[in-house]
Amino acid sequence: MNPVQSELATQCITLLAAGMLVIQLLMVVQGMLLTNIRLFALQSLMLAAIAALIAFFHNATHVYWVAGLTLAGKVFFLPWLLNRQVRRIQIEQEIAPLLNSSASMLLCGGFTLLGYIVARPFTTLERLGNNTLGVAITLLLTGFFLMINRRKAISQVLALLTVENGVMLAAVALTTYGMPLVVELGIFFDVMVAVMVLGLLVYRIRETFASMDVSKLSQLKG
């Protein structure tokens, strides 16, 4: 493909990656569960878009699969599922995270920095977009932090999903043609099943504990 095209592609992908990062940060400070779910959907949409772009510019057909699956699964299906959960158990928002929003922001800044430090040696061998890898690692770390910081079971699930997003971003950013299709499919279905299982557990926990607060799950000690 001609350099103009590739330049354009790089631009778009970098932009989208940055967008994913921004959304992640928004999720860190956002307390409302439903909003979080929407934000996640948006993030996944961007991921799908990145995949689609790569597929388009390298006309690598099976990466379309990735894009499509992401779109179907992470943009439509999972958010819908989580919405249902949230509505069923009437938990609207995340109260009292361990760290308040400003401190969290500060930490996330630190993680971003770390992400870039870790990613720097590999910028040379990224095919598309600058520092997409850095973004991916940052997504991973912040998602991780999100899991630690949130108390509601659902929001931990969300955080886990954002971590997955980070991984997928890395997968498409680092590998020109994405992973082998079988792997992609496997990963996708695993994520689906995982969310179902988690949903099931969340439901059961809600049933037995009459609460979603995972910090209440602390009877098993020593």
Binding site: L125, L160, V167, G186, D190, A194, Q219, G222
Partner: protein
């Protein structure tokens, strides 16, 4: 004759069968048959592997079984067979006691074969990505097994297990992606295959920095699943809350399967970076796990948590063996894997019987005098405990001492000394606790709803195997283990 697919098909078929079956007895029978089949297939695989090239592949290398995989296949089959043998009576008693609903029992008998199939896939898959999602599958199936009793505590345990597990697996996936990227480093075309064998063949050209980073992620990820400290925190909860057959499988093989996945990357990393980086990390984490397990064992109050921590200890020891990375220690670790897989389930089965008799796992409530109530169980448990604390004539003594020897021979005196201290602590704890509950006369008169010989066949089977293999290793087995040690350590064993 191609064996790998059937090994996967048999449990899957069993799962399907149980889905359709009605009575628990039939389901148990189906499970036993399935795992018996896989064991037979595994033994035949063992036979095939004796002939060069000592590798069995299928579906143009999609499935690949080398010595290491075969060793794992055998362990998985034996432990699953044992626990399905035990599970039948166990759940009959639970149903009788009204602890579980028939639906849940069906859930167990459906999920267990899936769990096992997942583990088989992990050890047989050649493609690292496939290996990853197979592990995820085992995690997800076992989560539901842990949550089977639907008590508060079991839900809590399941939640911690699934959250920590999936997070770890996400990290592992990240590492896997990195490995892939490291492989396509200079090329601008897609990788012909993501097979471990292929990567090994081109280990020289992998991008070392990426491999390094990849191994870090994989270590944390699969390490979480394998229960290495400090990522082990889900382990005691899950093991203590799951139904005993599941606990047996979790600590008997599932930990080791995760370790197997880690080992594959360890081999790759060593081939790429040369030994040093990955083995040091394994050594550190192994020692950490051992030193952390010992004090928890010393002051443990819950029977199954005690056993869980002892598993942590053993996994740590195995890691140390691989981390020391001398042929002898690797051989010792493989041996230890096997013996531990034969020992720990017995303890969990016995614990299950005790649990169903006393309806508690708190040792101070169980109180002294179990031997008067469940003599056969206690005898088995005693023997298994003797084995698990590394006393002769059982094999774990040999494997432990072999690892220590290797450590000293390789000049790691300090490491060996630490290992010895940790083992000592664990020994004291287990001896003290078990003496307290097993011997003596019961304070409260309990009527055991467990028949005297319940679970004894399963325990007897495993103990028998343990004793036999402690004094005599069949030549093919020995050969396979030596090959496996060679694969890991890169050189043959004396």
């Amino acid at each position: 004759m191609m064996l790998l697919v059937p090994i996967l098909v048999a449990p899957a078929a069993a799962a399907l069968g149980c889905l359709l079956a009605r009575s628990p007895r039939i389901m148990a029978f189906v499970n036993v048959v399935a795992f018996g089949t896989t064991l037979a297939l595994g033994v035949d695989l063992l036979r095939q592997l004796q002939a060069p090239p000592h590798v069995v592949t299928q579906w143009e290398e999609f499935f690949r079984a080398d010595a290491l995989s075969v060793w794992m296949v055998l362990l998985i089959s034996v432990v699953s067979l044992g626990s399905s043998l035990y599970a039948g009576r166990y759940f009959q008693r639970d149903l009788a006691a009204g602890v579980v609903t028939p639906g849940r029992v069906k859930e167990f008998f459906v999920l267990t074969p899936l769990f096992t199939a997942g583990m088989f896939l992990v050890v047989l898959a050649n493609n690292l990505g496939v290996m990853w999602f197979a592990l995820e599958a085992t995690a997800l199936s076992s989560v539901l097994l842990v949550a089977l009793y639907n008590r508060n505590t079991s839900l809590e345990a399941a939640w911690k297990y699934v959250i920590l597990g999936s997070l770890g697996l996400a990290l592992a996936l990240f590492g896997t992606v990195f490995t892939y990227a490291a492989a396509i480093d200079q090329k601008s075309t897609a990788l012909p295959s993501f097979n471990w064998s292929y990567l090994m063949s081109m280990a020289g050209q992998l991008n070392p920095r990426m491999i390094k980073l990849a191994f870090v992620f994989v270590l944390v990820g699969y390490g979480t699943k394998a229960g290495l400290a400090p990522m082990h925190t889900w382990l005691p909860d899950a093991h203590s809350e799951a139904p005993s057959p599941t606990s047996a499988m979790l600590s008997g093989v599932s930990l080791k399967v995760a370790l197997y996945a880690l080992l594959r990357f360890h081999i790759l990393t060593t081939a790429c970076l040369g030994s040093g980086f990955s083995r040091t990390l394994l050594l550190v984490f192994g020692l950490g796990s051992m030193c952390l397990a010992a004090p928890f064992i010393l002051v443990q109050t819950n029977l199954k948590r005690l056993l869980a921590y002892s598993s942590l200890e053993h996994i740590g020891l195995i890691c140390v063996g691989f981390g020391l990375n001398s042929p002898v220690t690797i051989w010792g670790s493989l041996l230890h894997m096997g013996y531990h897989a034969l020992t720990k389930p017995v303890l969990f089965f016995a614990a299950g019987n005790i649990h169903q008799t006393c309806h508690t796992l708190q040792m101070r409530l169980i109180g002294p005098g179990m031997v008067k109530m469940l003599p056969a169980t206690v005898v088995c448990m005693g023997l298994a405990a003797v084995a698990a604390t590394g006393l002769p004539p059982f094999g774990l003594f040999f494997s432990e001492l072999t690892i220590l020897n290797g450590g000293f021979a390789a000049g790691h005196s300090i490491v060996s000394t630490i290992v010895l201290l940790a083992l000592l602590g664990a020994f004291c704890g287990i001896l003290y606790q078990l003496t307290r509950i097993l011997l003596g006369v019961p304070k409260i008169a309990r009527t055991s709803d467990a028949a005297p010989w319940d679970g004894v066949p399963a325990m007897g089977l495993m103990l028998g195997a343990l004793v036999v293999f402690s004094v005599w290793l069949p030549a093919p087995l020995r050969f396979v283990m030596q090959r496996a040690a060679g694969i890991i350590g890169g050189e043959a064993v004396p």
